[in-house]
């Protein structure tokens, strides 16, 4: 009679019982998967233990093995009465981009905890962005903190250990003025989530001594019940440490924090929709001090080459970490050797707990003593819990009793992939309503209102809580200008002493475009991320991107169809911009079911693209703030009437309109030329036009520079569109560039037809806008700055 493991009656169970077992134990396995489990155990002639079933559930969870992204999807697209069918595989499409581009820039893609690209001949850059949505919705402070803690460990676990040098954070929240009384049971108020998440990222990031220097915040009604928290970390790693391999007979060593009951079922929980009845076990609370100590000693051990393999203990806990590490060999684990927070844990709980601040090493016997001494000398926990054995099996013992014995092949290859159906129907061509064009001449009032819009206003109140200077290598900081009063497009870091080469990091996110067309949203996000880093001085030819999809209920064919269309957009536009994907993550099933009414709400389909690129010489980095009165202003790229999903339409309640369509065939060559101009030091300031359009970008440059400008709208490159569209359209592919007057000829020669001189920087602090030979309006730059900086001060 087994003492520590419970036999689960699977062999004798019918379909109904199988589903009951899955539901009762929070396994989140569907009937097909439960049947596959039953078949395997029927084959070996015994029932599984609770520990085995839990291991399978963790390994097969959407969170860990991305079933939807790996499945084949029959995708139907309906447009203009025509129906097109196609078979697509989401992950396959994304990987195809990287394979086709076959870039020398990529060092390690899609196989490690983070994507790695080349920094120089000696070092690589590791970059990973994770989501921590469900935990942050429940316990914002703990959820967000452990989110950043987790992605830091992904970087520590990239290759044989990369050193984290910067964090990024991107959040999506519900609208802050939501009525407290009308929130459904179990949903925290958006302001509370906002404050908790920001302080969670702040406290964890700052205490780790890693600068948080790039990010974005989106507010929309659709995120009220499911907030999104994206946490990213950039690291630097010697290229010789990129490859890693678990060797037979290596010892399994768990390091860092102790194991408790916190975070049990996080991996499977993320596949279950939210409602009011979630258990406290899934909530994780972080301890950055423990992680900081672990990081420091781990990087020392990496330098000394003391271990063969390292990985993070994230979702699924030890079961996922050890299971993956041993997938090619086999592993033998003694669970009683795992250091615990308290004694009463059951074996399966130890095995799948998601307690924070833990990592797993594969250590050759000859280094074991030295490694343990090193960790002991820094007072960091390190415990040998087993050994990798050439058995092809995962064998787990608790006090000498076998509690789990599974074939690695079944565990990692046994999950039945579904054939999914998805459909996407175009809502019809988006016409502009005839009455939509503004009759107003009161442009300044409209601009002021737009500047205070919750999605445009300065993120200063959040940014200033983060330490973006620690490690002393942040060259371009999140706020630009002498007074730190303008926004930066990207963060630029100088990671190595005595080397002026830099790293630029930026991002693109815009769920509002996705409501019109997820395909164009993908294109716009990719371009925005690229524009951001190019503005700061990165080479568009030495850049790579990461994808993070957060979607609603994908069991719904239309939701899945929108996701598939978004992935197609990613594939097509990434290829055209020549940007390889190096890493990605999806978080599906972000939806909420209200207990009383059964009403289901999915989040708006959301794609975050994060870009990393190389700045050849950080001394040439350009910020977005105006530098000197009299300097010439240029617009690069063409303005079209593309107002669908724009902030202007949202703020003034106008519906319809076409969403912006990126034109890579024009934009990419233009970006290359612009980059050359930045590289030779011709450009004084540069800012891309995005949310809110041209006039918002111009006001932001004025805010950072404490100066005004004089611009002539008719000189903008366009097909004769109205002043309204010139001011507020969100056409892609546009930059505003400031040039010294003496360089006018050189700049125009270098850029060719891509640019038009639209005016100049004015020292007098007024933004004056002319159209058709007349002054259209003028606006005090100082007041615009005040308005822009006021929206988040609550």
């Amino acid at each position: 009679m087994p003492e520590y493991a419970l036999e689960m009656n699977i062999i004798g169970a019918g379909d109904k019982e199988l589903l009951e077992i899955s539901g009762k134990n929070l396994l989140a396995l569907n009937l097909e998967e439960m049947k596959a489990v039953k078949k395997y155990f029927t084959g070996i002639g015994r029932n599984p233990t609770d520990c085995e079933l839990e291991t399978i559930a963790q390994t097969w969870s959407e969170h860990c093995c991305h079933k939807i992204f790996r499945s084949d999807i029959n995708y139907t697209e309906k447009a203009n009465g025509k129906i097109r069918e196609e078979k697509i595989n989401l992950l396959g499409e994304i990987r195809k981009v990287t394979e086709k581009l076959d870039s020398d820039f990529c060092v390690s893609v899609f196989k490690d905890n983070a994507g790695i690209v080349k920094f120089n001949d000696e070092y690589g850059i590791a970059f990973k962005v994770e989501t921590h949505n469900h935990p942050s919705a429940l316990e914002p402070y703990g959820g967000a903190g452990t989110g950043i803690g987790g992605v830091i460990r992904d970087i520590l676990g990239a290759g044989r250990g990369a050193k984290p040098i910067m964090n990024t954070d991107v959040f999506c929240f519900g609208l802050p003025d939501a009525d407290y009384k009308r929130l459904p049971e179990g949903v925290l108020h958006p302001r509370r989530i906002f404050r908790g998440v920001v302080s969670g990222v702040r406290d964890y990031g700052n205490r780790m001594g890693i600068p948080t220097a790039n990010g974005a915040i989106v507010f929309d009604e659709g995120y009220q019940k499911n907030c999104l928290v994206f946490c990213g970390t950039v690291g630097i790693i010697p290229l010789k440490n990129v490859e890693k391999k678990v060797m037979e007979d290596d010892y399994i060593v768990v390091i860092g924090g102790k194991t408790g009951r916190d975070g049990i079922h996080g991996a499977t929980f993320s596949s279950i929709q939210m409602d009011a009845n979630v258990s406290t076990n899934v909530v994780q609370i972080g301890n950055p001090i423990v992680e900081k100590k672990m990081m420091d000693v781990l990087l020392t051990a990496a330098d000394e080459g003391l271990y063969n393999f390292v990985t993070d203990c994230g979702a699924g806990g030890l079961s996922s970490a050890v299971g993956e590490m041993g997938s090619e060999t086999g592993a033998e684990v003694m669970l009683e050797k795992v250091p615990l927070k308290y004694s009463e844990l059951l074996p399966w709980e130890i095995w799948i707990s998601e307690s924070q601040e833990r990592m797993v090493l594969s250590v050759p016997g000859k280094n074991l003593k030295k490694l343990l001494e090193l960790f002991a000398s820094e007072d960091v926990e390190a415990a040998i819990i087993g050994q990798f054995k050439k058995t092809g099996k995962l064998e787990i013992y608790y006090k000498n009793e076998a509690v789990c014995s599974l074939d690695m092949n079944f565990l990692h290859g046994g999950v039945p992939l579904r054939n999914l159906k998805a459909q996407f129907a175009f809502p019809g061509k988006a016409e502009y309503r005839k009455d939509a064009d503004a009759k107003t001449t009161d442009w300044p009032a409209r601009i002021m209102k737009l500047l205070t819009d919750i999605n445009i206003t300065s993120r200063e109140a959040v940014i200033t809580q983060y330490d973006h200077e620690v490690q002393a290598h942040t060259v371009l900081k999140p706020l630009a200008g002498m007074e730190h009063s303008g926004p930066s497009d990207a963060a630029v870091l100088k990671p190595l002493y005595g080397d002026y080469r830099g790293i630029a990091v930026g991002c693109g996110i815009n769920p509002f475009y996705g409501r019109h067309d997820p395909y164009m949203m993908a294109g716009c996000c990719i371009e925005e991320a690229l524009r951001n880093i190019v503005s700061a001085g990165a080479d568009p030819g030495a850049a790579a991107i990461l994808d993070n999809f957060c979607w609603g209920d994908v069991n719904d064919e239309e939701n899945l169809g929108a996701l598939a269309r978004c992935v197609k957009g990613c594939r097509d536009f990434a290829l055209k911009y020549k940007l390889p994907f190096i890493s990605g993550k999806d978080s599906l099933n972000n939806f909420f079911v209200e207990e009383k009414t059964g009403v289901e709400t999915s989040i708006p389909g959301t794609l975050l693209i994060s870009a990393v690129g190389i700045v050849g010489d950080i001394r040439k980095t350009v910020s977005s703030s105006f530098k000197r009165g009299g300097n010439l202003l240029y617009i690069c790229g063409k303005t079209r009437k593309e107002m669908g999903g724009s902030r202007y339409y949202a703020v003034f309640g106008i519906e319809g309109g076409e969403v912006s369509e990126p034109v890579p065939s024009k934009t990419l060559p233009m970006m290359r030329k612009l980059h050359c101009c930045i590289e030779v030091g011709m450009v004084k300031s540069c800012h891309d036009c995005s949310d809110g359009g041209f006039i918002i970008a111009l006001s932001e440059m004025a805010a950072g520079g404490g100066r005004g400008a004089e611009v002539f709208l008719d000189r903008m490159i366009s097909d004769d569109v109205s002043p309204e569209a010139l001011l507020f359209s969100e056409s892609q592919g546009r930059f505003i560039v400031e040039i010294d007057r003496t360089l006018q000829g050189d700049f125009e020669k270098a850029m060719g037809k891509n640019v038009s001189m639209i005016g100049s920087v004015a020292e007098d602090g007024e933004i004056k806008v002319f159209y058709g030979g007349e002054k259209l309006f003028s606006l005090s730059a100082e007041e615009a700055e005040k308005a822009w900086r006021s929206g988040l001060q609550w």
Partner: protein, 160 residues
């Protein structure tokens, strides 16, 4: 459980408390007048008073701006405020408590100390019982991981 309360000295601005007051106002509870916040450390019986005072003075208090009181001593009674204590539930990782334990050990105290950390809020204003409960549930405590307790100082004129 014995409690060490650490609060700002008279005259030192209580930014956190002011922030909480602002948040309560935002919830539509306009009767709130003042919020004072402090940190509380709950100790199980193992440590003696002298040890607790030593811990408070040497580990928990920043003596430039903060003071402490043990088990509610030095409390000016009868201000008529609502006092809310928020603690983590048992089993939830309490990182601050873990760090205090390490610090206590480093300070050479050999007694095995069991500790939990939390926050105390003093609310002054005309608040109904329902207001107070709503503030606890929606703002001060997350019932998933925290417990809260409400008590009224003497002289409280609730149900205004």
């Amino acid at each position: 459980m014995r409690i060490i309360e650490v609060r700002n000295k008279q005259g030192v601005p209580d930014v956190f408390g002011q922030d909480v007051r602002k948040n309560i106002r935002e919830m539509g509870i306009s009767g709130i007048e003042e919020v004072v916040a402090s940190e509380i450390y709950g100790f199980e019986d193992s440590a003696g008073d002298d040890e607790l005072r030593y811990i408070a003075e040497n580990i928990l208090v920043d003596s430039v701006i903060q003071e402490y009181c043990l088990n509610g001593e030095k409390q000016s009674a009868g201000e008529g405020r609502v006092v809310i204590d928020v603690f983590y539930k048992k089993g939830v990782t309490d990182s601050v408590a873990d760090t205090v334990k390490t610090a206590v050990k480093d300070a050479g105290i050999k007694t095995d100390i069991s500790i939990s950390t939390g926050k105390r809020y003093y609310l002054r204003g005309s608040l109904t019982e329902e207001d107070v409960k709503s503030v606890c549930m929606k703002l001060l405590a997350n019932p998933l991981v925290q417990n809260y307790s409400i008590r009224y100082e003497e002289g409280n004129k609730s149900n205004a």
